[in-house]
Structures are given as C-alpha cells and as structure tokens.
Amino acid sequence: MRAMTYRGPYKLRVEEKDRPRIEHPNDAIVRVQLAAICGSDLHLYHGMMPDTRIGHTFGHEFIGVVDEIGSSVQHLQVGDRVMVPFNIFCGSCWFCARGLFSNCHNVNANATAVGGIYGYSHTTGGYDGGQAEYVRVPFADVGPVKIPEWMHDEDAVLLTDAAATGYFGAQLGEIAEGDTVVVLGAGPVGLVAAQSAWLMGAGRVIVVDHLAERLEKARTMAHAETLDYDEYEDIVVELKQQTDHLGADVVIEAVGAEADGSCLQHIAAAKLKLQGGSPVALNWAIDAVRKGGTVAVVGAYGPIQSAVKFGDAVNKGLTLRMNQTPVKRQWPRMFEHIRNGHLTPREMVTHRFPLEEIGEAYHVFSAKLDGCIKPLILPSAS
C-alpha cells in the first residue's frame, strides 16, 4: 500500500509499505477514505517529539471503510464506514472505565503519561497512522463509530480530533453565562473552541492570532472579536485593557508547542529542542486570565519540561485544566450541534492534497502558505 513515511525532521515521502494485518482479535483494518494533517503532526514533522522513528506513518485524523476484522469484533462489519477517534483505548482499564479515554493504560507500552495515538511516534505507542491507504485500528469494538448517513465526510474527519478538541477545550474552561473568553490561536482547534464557547454561554469571545486569514475566519465562522498580537507591543496589556483590567474569566490555549510571539522561545523549543514546547501562549494565558480564573490547555506539548510561569499561576489562584481530548465522549452531543448548524467544522478546510503530494502538503501547512488553515489528505485508494 502507499503510505506517508517520515524520513527525518522536515522530510517526508510516500513509500510502498506492507498492508497492516490483524495483530489482536479485536483489531480491524480500515481502508482510509479521507485523512487530515493536524497542527500537532507538525511537531513530529519538525522533529520535536522524542522517539519518532524513520519510516513512521503519521496521521491521527482519518475516516474509512472497514476492510477486515479480528475474531472477537462484535460491533463492526466489513464494509462499515467509520470515523476513528485519534485516541487508541481499551475501554476497560481504570481510566477508560471513568471516561478518560485519552489516558488509557492498556495501549501504550512506551509511556505511562500519555495514552495511545495513531501515527504519533513511539512515545504514544508506536502505531502507524492514517495518512496511508490502510491502517490498523486496535479495539475496534471500542473506538470507531459508524458515520451517520447525514454527516459530511469532512465534518466526520474533523470530529476525530480538531473539532472535538476545540469543543473539549471550551468545556475545560468551565464557562459560565456571561464570561469573557479569550481563545489563543485561530487554528482549527481555536476556531471550534470559539464557536463552542458561545454554546456554553460566553458573553464575549476574543480570539488572538497573528495570521490575517485565520483572524478573518474567527470573525466569520466563530462570530468572535479578534486581536492581531503583531499589532500590539504587549498583547497581555491589551487584553487587560479590553477587560477593564480584570483579565478574562477563561483563557483557552489552543496553540501548543510551536507558539510564535517570542523568537527566543521558538528557537529554544522548535529548533534546538531544549524545551518540550515554546511556552509563549501558555504564559500569555496565565498572564491574561483574571485572578481566580481558569486556563484551559488543549495545545499539544512534548514530554520535556517547558519554562512555564508557574509562580504567577499560583499567585493568581488559577485553575489550570488540560488533557488530550477523550474524543468519543464528545461525539453524541457534537453530532447534535453539527446537525443543528451550531458547529460548522468543515468551514475551516482550505486545502485538499492527494497522498502523493504529502511533502508539499506538510510544507504548505507548516509555513502557513497560501492561507492554509486545515489541509485534508486523499489517499489514492479512496
């Protein structure tokens, strides 16, 4: 089969690989119909995630058709069209039994601090991902869901991570009616987080970024006020002035490890790998939220420590909430919101690349060329 393969930092190619096989009785093999590149894939692409091995196939956002099932699979049949959460999870460990699907303890032998994720290095379990024609899906009776007839494929693929993560971020913020919510980052996760903040009763939603096309999307898709941090000497001061010097009730950090805004921090994290991620956005969140407020973190960071201003978080009495998204837990309600037009994830899709152009797709997304907000990948077998 054809599959994207990692060849080292900033280098990818499409190779012929063996089709994955059933390795556990509850495995399924899914023929991928549509995949996406996630912003967090760029951390792998840039060589920031430890134990990213040459030959690894990325991709944790994908939908497809069940091509083969293991002997114990009861809930799926060959031919079913399924959407697959980015989390690999068993459904029965201490954490899964309590709804923490992203923290499953039975699927990642390489680390205990993070669960299993498709195509996201061996630090998250060593599973090849869905930017390929076929992918192995463990625990087929637990993770995948049949795609509803009415759902658009592009909404379905975005629900496997980006959209679900945005919605989850707003929930982590514990938004109350009338709250002022600041969303840092107008990428796919931030856009849905901003839409979701309204659903939870926000009185104001302010989105901060520095890319004009993304800020425009935040205004049109998420009905948010926007601030371009490049236009201000100090975005934290501007946010304080915008909120009568109180600070935001809730800040949702939807940027993660490669935050711009400080060249020094970016070089230390993204280029020299001396930190698990550039903490610029996280520190802005801590500074811009009001005392006693909540910071919700859904940006992705590596496992190495980062220079976070923890003292300010303590002194301000903040609530810090974060996790990888337990995707499947979000779906029933999100399906309603999408059907009702309250959430519109596919509005953010800007580019569609064939799998054979994967190198260009990553470069365009990484450098944000051509106004790229969300690129999708079309495997040649689809």
């Binding site: 899964c96 009616e177 919101h337």
Partner: protein, 206 residues
C-alpha cells in the same frame, strides 16, 4: 455578519472606574436574547452539569463497548521496549518500526535505564532519533530510492501559485534558521566528503 475586530473601551462601573478596582459584577455587553439572536446555538450547553465531559471521572465501564475485564494479550511482547513505569508490556501495543541498529541500542538504553521522569530518558530518545535519521539517509544512498531533500521537504510549493503563496507566512521570524537546520547537515556532509577526497588524492599523489 461583520464583527468588530476590537471593542470600544467603555467601563462597566457606574462611577467610571475600571471594573477590577470596584466590587461590581461586570455587566454583559449583550443580553442573552441578543446573543441568542446573533450566535447560532448560543447557550445550548449552558448547564455545566449537562456537558459531555462533566464530571471529569464518569464511572461507566459497561458503556464503552469493551466485552472484557482485561484485554487478551497481543502476541510478540517478549523483548519489546517499555516504560519502566509500567508493570508490563501493555496487552496491546504498536508494532511499527521495531528497534534496530545503533539507534535501537540508544533507545533501548533510554527505556531500560530511565523513567519518564528523568531528562536523560528523553535526551537519549532524541539522540536516537537523530542517529536513526542519519543512518537511514546514508543507507538510502545504497538503494534505488535515495533521499531527495527537494521532494521530501516539499520546498517546491514555495514556487507554485506565484505571489499568493507568499501570503500569511508564519515562519518569517525564524526562516533564516530553517535552511541551516534542514540543509546544514547536508552541506557539512558534502564538505566533509570534499575534504576527504582531497586528502585521499594528496596521499595518493604523495
């Protein structure tokens, strides 16, 4: 609907003081009715107790689809690397790219020697990544499908779509560094090769 990019800076307190310095509650700039009319779905998830991720721990082991208490163990766990914070290799695990060669030895050392709490664990894994990359690059030149930095970096997309492709670049602050990071090792390798050939020729001539 066109939305404001910044708000007008009024103060919410009656006496003109910024709200942070007085005990008043902030006023909503728009009423719920106004927001409901302007924002699709405003307030649909207003009740925190009715949101999907509330409460954080929602004990419901019978609703996950799992029909086992502990999953059947996948074959092939013997010798597979694992975090020493785990009691055993997990019952299901990834089998992509098993450890091999020098990079595999480095990575195995990281897993055997250090827990996830130790910086050395991650530094060794990153070092293993770079050794893996360099070894793979070198090995690729002995194949019919050698690494090609032009196609593999997607750099050709810089030239396509002419001017529109230049719009909205995010890497302008650090783009001078990127060629050093990407092309630097290739240039150093080429320089080393040239020096090596020159030295060989001198020795052969002398």
């Amino acid at each position: 609907m066109s939305q404001p990019t910044t708000r007008d800076r009024d103060t919410s307190s009656a006496d003109g003081l910024p709200i942070a310095y007085v005990p008043d509650r902030p006023r909503m700039r728009e009423t719920p009715e106004q927001l409901r009319a302007r924002i699709p779905g405003w307030g649909a998830d207003l009740d925190p107790a009715d949101r999907p991720s509330h409460p954080k721990l929602q004990y419901s082991p019978d609703s996950t689809g799992a029909h086992w208490r502990f999953p059947e163990r996948q074959a092939g766990a013997e010798g597979r690397e694992r975090s020493i914070e785990h009691a055993f290799v997990t019952p299901v695990f990834g089998t992509a790219q098993p450890l091999h060669g020098v990079s595999g030895m480095i990575r195995r050392l990281a897993y055997r020697r250090y827990s996830e709490a130790r910086f050395g664990h991650w530094l060794l894994l990153i070092f293993g990544d770079r050794v893996d990359a360099w070894g793979s690059h070198l090995r690729s030149f002995a194949t019919l499908h050698p690494d090609n930095p032009i196609t593999q970096t997607g750099i050709r997309s810089e030239l396509s779509a002419s001017g529109t492709m230049r719009r909205g670049r995010s890497d302008r602050r650090h783009h001078l560094l990127d060629p050093v990071i990407v092309a630097g090792p290739w240039v150093i390798a080429a320089g080393g090769l040239v020096l090596g050939v020159r030295r060989f020729r001198r020795r052969a001539a002398g």
